[in-house]
Symmetry: C2
Subunit: 422 residues, 2 copies
């Protein structure tokens, strides 16, 4: 070992991380993201699709004998930044809406969300029963659960990319996607609870189900009610601090606090980040803006432009193309994809108002993205009688469903929203 290598190794060991490797990964991710985005924008697609495709290329270069980029997909530090990126993105999306706007589309969003969870769950269970009878009913329930939750991150980026964030459809989709994330996690919590109870040989009571449901769905309403009271007070206090950049730190601190709280009660941290953005409004930080500082939305934009592409490239990079060589996996994947897409079309029956494109709402709910992948990963680690509840073949099929639903949404959503307005 040369002295230089020793220093590099020792320095990174001392830090618990190799910051030089993180720098390398970020340089690759940022350049690839913009190159990919440029190419798809030229053919009329949303930039996020290019970032995902750039990620898929990075993550599968080992198939053609190049493996210097492929470890990026599994690096712990890069994964930290990707998770931070999706939290910041959802906070930014929340900032662009207000609680009032969300309440106005509230009933539609709730109905859309419930239909969008129940229908894919049932269809997913059915696909499992027909194509994979040997896997058992717990696996079927689990497959249903992975189909239930919409990935609001993907849809939000597409809506941003095509400048449709302020439409009625966008508000219903985003409101529903958040409720739907809560509902999806409730379904997952119940299914994993059932598997765990079955593994220990005990019954999972109706009471536990009710408790799980109550706790999860209560969080958003509680957080928003408390936040609406707390936010102006905290911001007023913060405006008196003599340090610099207080608005950004306070806003981000609020976002991370709610993200943590939603994690603590078993929901995805992005739910809390979105709620934080929803709660914070321009009027809360007028003290800062009136003395010439930038508003929160403007301050968050560069941070989101830096970290959100990290999330999308990493999601693409984690997709292992080689697992789709088995034709029967492709058959199950095709059935699941169909169930995922058709199931979410039930959402369109939940749209109550007029002049809103029901088709666009149904399409906007299709992507499963990170939530589907996280659920699939959980299925691999859950065991019943010593064996994982879902096997590698089902896992690969779920991953393909996630990829396809994610890739089909941007062009379809764009098309349906453009059509509705013309």
């Amino acid at each position: 070992m040369t002295p230089e290598t020793l220093v590099t190794v020792a320095t990174s060991a001392a830090d618990g991380h190799d910051s030089a490797y993180v720098a390398f990964a970020l340089a690759v991710i940022l350049f690839a993201a913009k190159a990919g985005a440029d190419l798809v924008v030229r053919i009329g697609q949303a930039a996020v699709l290019g970032e995902l495709l750039a990620g898929v290329m990075i993550g599968n270069l080992d198939l053609v004998g190049v493996n210097i980029f492929e470890p990026i997909a599994h690096d712990a530090a890069v994964s930290t930044l990707a998770n931070l990126g999706v939290i910041i993105l959802l906070f930014q999306v929340g900032l662009e809406s207000t609680v009032g706007q969300m309440l106005r589309v509230g009933w539609s969003a709730l109905l859309v969300a419930v239909l969008g969870v129940v229908a894919p769950f049932a269809l997913g269970w059915l696909v499992g029963m027909v194509l994979l009878p040997e896997a058992g009913s717990y696996a079927h329930a689990f497959i249903g659960a992975t189909l239930s939750a919409t990935s609001v991150g993907i849809t939000a980026r597409v809506l941003q990319d095509i400048g449709k964030m302020q439409t009625q459809e966008a508000k219903i989709i985003l409101g529903a996607a958040v409720v739907d994330d809560v509902l999806g996690l409730v379904v997952l919590a119940v299914v994993t609870g059932m598997v765990g109870a079955a593994d220990r040989g005990v019954d999972f009571s109706a009471l536990s189900i009710a408790g799980t449901v109550a706790k999860s769905s209560g969080f958003l309403f509680g957080a928003i009610a408390l936040g609406v009271w707390l936010a102006p007070r905290v911001m007023h206090l913060a405006s008196k601090l003599r340090a610099r950049n207080v608005l950004l730190a306070t806003g981000l601190g609020f976002c991370f606090l709610l993200a943590w709280l939603s994690g603590v009660i078993g929901l995805a941290p992005i739910v809390g980040a979105f709620a934080a953005g929803l709660i914070l409004e321009d009027v809360h930080y007028k003290d800062f803006v009136s003395r010439g500082e930038h508003g929160l939305e403007e301050l968050i934009r560069p941070i989101s432009s830096f970290l959100a592409p990290v999330f999308f490239v990493v999601m693409g990079a984690r997709t292992d193309l080689s697992s789709f060589a088995d034709p029967s996996t492709l058959g199950v994947a095709a059935a699941l994809t169909l169930a995922a897409i058709l199931g979410k079309q039930a959402c369109s029956f939940g749209v109550l108002g007029k002049g809103v494109s029901r088709l666009a709402v149904g399409i906007g709910m299709i992507p499963r993205g990170e939530v589907g992948l996280i659920f699939a990963n959980i299925g691999l680690t859950l065991t019943l009688g010593g064996r994982p509840i879902i096997d590698q073949r089902i896992f690969a099929a779920i991953v393909l469903m996630v990829i396809f639903t994610t890739f089909v949404t941007p062009p379809a959503l764009r098309w349906s929203l453009m059509r509705a307005r013309s």
Copy 2:
């Protein structure tokens, strides 16, 4: 395990990280940083001191029986963000200067740096020989090495906080601190090489020393020369991309690329980040600004405001106050602190121009901050004949020296620069 806990655990296991915990840590860090900064700004200190003190409080709450915050100091994901924070900070500092400005203070900076490495190295070795004769000459050399490198991050933040970034003193200090970082890492590479060779029973040749020196010092000049030629071409190409936020991604990509390269040849990644900032100038991205986009400095500011405090709070939090209970450790620490402060005053003899406060330059070079801590950590992991080259007592003394030099610099630098101008 309740279903919710299971989901939380499984979700974080699937991601390799608990994003909810990262969110918690970031909320604590951001709120504590701003509260600490507010308190010290009120008593006329630089904000960075408040962030460090907030970190020391967070990291030592276990001494008073509270340990919910203390793990933040050692969390791998938080450490990733802290390392990223210091890279972004140095990039931002580099952006505020140009290569031309740096060359004008070049000879002063080089002379200041060389004197500022040689004198503390010799004094540190002397302290070791007198107070710790039993530790052996390799330990003495190592102690000397930990005293050699200035922490440019601390000084840069103080200069920013008091609005003195554009002074001659600031340019000499920052130029010298960067050269000094390179020289300090060369010294460390040579010392670790000697220890490694002695441990294997072979001689470390003069040729290896010369090779290490040549490679390291050649990097900055090579990177800057290549970068000055490459930057306008890359930026011109980037301005033709159809994606959004291309300027920020390209600038950051360039920063991370150089940070990685400097890591690869055995230097700290911050050296490359600073060089990248130095190379990129307004004129390179006029294509972006002319179509109404923000400039790079303005885009980087919110990212740096978010991540740089993470670095300073974490540095404070890693300081274990309980290790200073032993009086003899305090004696060695006092001698090392004196050697560290006096040694850097040799820098003032390197200032060539007139009208520059030599005292301010000498004081600006005092802080050892992260570089000293990283070196001390390396000393703990290096072994000679199966025993670590420096023991826990020497380590604790080095940490105290780092804290003291870091804490004494902001008020002293502020005072000396204010005095020089009045």
